[in-house]
Amino acid sequence: MRIRTAFILLCCAWALAAQQPRRTLGEALGKKQPLLIQNATIHTITKGAFTGSISVVDGKIADVGEKILAPAGAKIINASGKHVIPGMIDCHTHIAIDAINEGSVSVSSMTSVADVVNAEQRSIYYALAGGVTTGNVLHGSANAIGGLNTVLKMRWGKDAGGLVMAEAPPGIKFALGENPKRQGMAAQQGSQAARRYPGTRMGVEDVIRQAFIDARAYSFQWKSYEQSRAKGENVLPPRRDLKLEPLVEVLEGKRLVHAHSYRADEILMLLRLAEEFDFRIATLQHVLEGYKVAKEIAEHGAGASTFSDWWSYKVEAFDAIPHNAALLREKGVLVSINSDDASGAEIMRRLNTEAAKAVKYGGVSDNDALAMVTLNPAKQLGIDKYVGSIEPGKHADLVIYDGDPLSIYSRVEKVFIDGEQYFDRETDAMLRRELDAQKKGLLEKEKLDERQRTPARRPS
């Protein structure tokens, strides 16, 4: 009798849990089930690769080693013959948002892609199924100083707030070269009056410099206000300016700059400009001619996030070479490889093979190549304390491949984020059949409704 009551209660709990959308089973039960992944080839990134096990407790990696203890009540996954890597991190993507560019002005730092996250965009699932667990979602490159970015985990099924990786430091997008200056050309904007400054690379530099001069003045305004107030004076605070506030944070070293760049000359320009204002560029994005100025980039301390082998699609990309990543790395630059994907997540589905190209062209080791899509982007985004390698204490963001992760023949089988499974190839196949059946049902229902309505239709 008591067992039956308990069973009914459990059923009720399940039913309730089922009605609450966007809650995973683990959350409904109050905690996540511990995990043990056994007998896999584990690519830790920081401590090499070996055959062993990973234990996960409370969403974090508890232990990694050749022989470790299973946590109590753990779900055991036998991964013999499989490979496990840390969830991949894409340092430059535009998926999961409903707007990419605020292209009307040259400084759009008042905008933030966090405001337009679309947690139901399918690209998130595609990226997840490709083994990407974290993405740096950036504003587009239409502006010398663009909008604020957001770092998302591909927690498919959660709402916009549920995707955000809260630990990630804030950042902002800059852009140099053709994209921001193109907006200022007559052919793009028609009448002289509506044209946007700048129309040249010189102008791009001017816009960025002027913005930081304004930001300094703004910061000074606030400081003098605080001083007056401390003295007990009755003074009006300055007007808050959402365009300049993020730039003040950049000056104070509190906000990472991710700068879209192609040519060596503009890369040097930005590094010098940043040094003039005493801040550091966190990442040069794309940085196709980075290999020409690798030493200077390393000296500045900027990271480089580049494409694997994509070039000549516009004039400023003519000097790009597939050895860029390897050459930058040799000169001591922290290098990652990104997708720049928009809706569709075409490259995020196979970011592992983008890393493999660094082996093919640049002769880097397998581990260093994998680091370019895991640990290195984590460092560039300031989240390497939490993600990017398989080490105790880090988030259990794990990808199980059925073979070598750098082989084009390997496929992602399972993906975990924070110790929760978000992708499973077998379940996916099942869900697809279910979804197809539901869709067919909806179409048939609609057809039936139409047929029933048509003969009865008359003006009323």
């Binding site: 990419i100 605020e102 009307s104 405001d115 509506a194 400054y197 009006l236 605070p237 365009k243």
Partner: protein, 444 residues
Amino acid sequence: MRRATLSVLAVLCAVMAATAAETPSLVAIQNARIVTVSGATLEKGTVVIAGGLIREVGESVTPPAGAWVIDGAGLTVYPGLIDAFSAWGQPAPPAGGRPAAQPQPRPQGQEQPAAPQRSWGPEDRPGTTSWVKAADQLDPADRRIDAARSAGFTTAVTFPSGSLIAGHGAVINLGGESAGEMVVHPLAGLRMELNARGVGGFPNSLMGVIAYFRQLWLDAAHYQQAKEMYDKKPAGLARPAYDRALEGILEANRVVLPAVTRVELERMAALAAELRKPAILRGAHDAYRATAALKEAGLSVIVNVKWPAKPRDLDPQVEESYRTLELRDKAPTTPAALAAAGIPFAFTSEGLDAPRDLIAAVKKSIDLGFKREDAIHALTLGAARIYGVDNRLGSIEPGKIANLTVIKGELFDSMARVQMVFVDGKKYDPAPEPPPARRGEETR
């Protein structure tokens, strides 16, 4: 049957020959079914109207001496129906949006001097006419008001049209000689839109629009602070410049934001929290999937009942997504889901060809399990509550405004007809039904 109804109507009209102006001040409807909404439904009751207000309602109420007594046998009396978002009585929208505020001098900076039509940032107040009030531009002669009344509506919340911040809506009664008589509340809520197309310059994206709203709100708070400081002690202080755009923001009692899909509803819930004013989300087809977020944010919802339909000229090669098909199937279940979750909601006829189509559209939800009493609540007291006028409108209670919708039969029955409506105690008869729409227009 239909002819019989018409002839009864004709006779009634002839006998009463009641135009609004001639309604006596004291009226009683007796022996009617009275749906008070705020209390129990009276199967056979009497409602007494005096001086434009409801004086008494009850089963044992006797019509006072000298009252004009209407026999309510076969009739159901409801509180007057309310359309929660309309443009009735408002001028047609101007063609194409443009920044309405005069561009202000820019701080020395990166951009070249702006042409007047081009907005260069939040300071230019793009697409903003927050000083416009629907109550100030109300046209009592608008023929849509007659059509709405004939469909059983006595009240509407009517909004100006515009670009990003269109202006303030007004709660109006759909009867009266002048705008002044019609307005029940001149500041119902501030209409905000997200579509930047046509603004010209900044913003030209959804995230730009949201950033603009955020800056505008900060500017309004700063403006208010500056004004307060100055008013307290003007001597020795620079006078803050008068800004009608910011005055309009400060005046708003609540904001009305568009949101149809779950993603949009959740996004607007987040924005509303930042704006720190009560918010109403309108559209809400997908709200059946977003009840948790709406409930948590404490938002009200106006459901647009122009339910999503299959596009008429859909390319047969195009495969529609599961989400599209699902929304089309489930949108009419949204009212029931909102009622179950206890989220305040109302309906709008926005997008429908005629006000009377609203009843038919809500009927679709009722056929799918939405309760009639919840539907009636949403069309009366629920709508009044969302706009904070439930102390004067929305139910049949002594002391409230005498807005009544009298139906032959019951609302949502297939044979139901609007028999008469009372607006501020004045009786109006429905206009004869208009000729059927041409086939092409019918399903537009």
